[in-house]
Symmetry: C2
Subunit: 121 residues, 2 copies
Amino acid sequence: MDLINAAQAMEALGNPTRLAIFRHLVVAGRSGAPVSGIQQALDIAPSTLSHHIARLMRHGLLRQERRGRTLLCTADYAAMNALVGFLSQECCARDECNSDSCVAASDIAPDDATNVKDPVR
Amino acid sequence: MDLINAAQAMEALGNPTRLAIFRHLVVAGRSGAPVSGIQQALDIAPSTLSHHIARLMRHGLLRQERRGRTLLCTADYAAMNALVGFLSQECCARDECNSDSCVAASDIAPDDATNVKDPVR
DNA sequence: GCAATAATTCGATAATTCTGGAATCATTGA
DNA sequence: TCAATGATTCCAGAATTATCGAATTATTGC
């Protein structure tokens, strides 16, 4: 993930309504949630919701799959992790990261699961 | 960090220019970088830069400290980690997280360093 | 005090975003 | 085919954002 993509993903999540939608789907898990379910849970106008969902999809945070009349939405965990990874990577490569404030960036490495960080403190 | 704060932080970082500024400061480390340094590195108009910096500060991602005529900016690592933590927490509490796609949210737990996740695969 | 330097604030414009009602499309079931 | 349901697209208005030149503030050194 490059800077542009990361910025776009964060802009997509940088709106309370969209972040609530995304969180709703993250909590819903892999089975996802129908648009109507999100609409009822968050009480947003259908067209507004549709716009927000489209935006989240455009930047890869969400996926939709049709199930008859309903559209099932699922959060894209990989995209979320890529974003978290981007935020952490520059930080982690530095001494600053080993200090107490940067705990987050520990083992972000889908392709290398061997770097399990020592517990701090 | 609640949803509103997380959304604001992400909106602040959800702009290529601001994200570049923030990254520049993350890379600069705890010693930070002067506004003029950022300006030269990223080649932005001073007034534009000032607005972006103000925005990042307003949402707690940055801090400024005066050193004579220059203002030294530093990234707030704690804020960044709080954001990463927010993104990960809902995901991590679920089974989905133990699957291969959610590696990021491993040991985000400044107050509990005992939950070191088993390497996946 | 005054010139020089660093950075912000003011003011203004173009572009984008957010919102939601109305219309439309897609699918189901009778 | 037709009504009903789920969701999107069209359209428009209000609000916010991004940008930057010009003016202003803050600080230093002479």
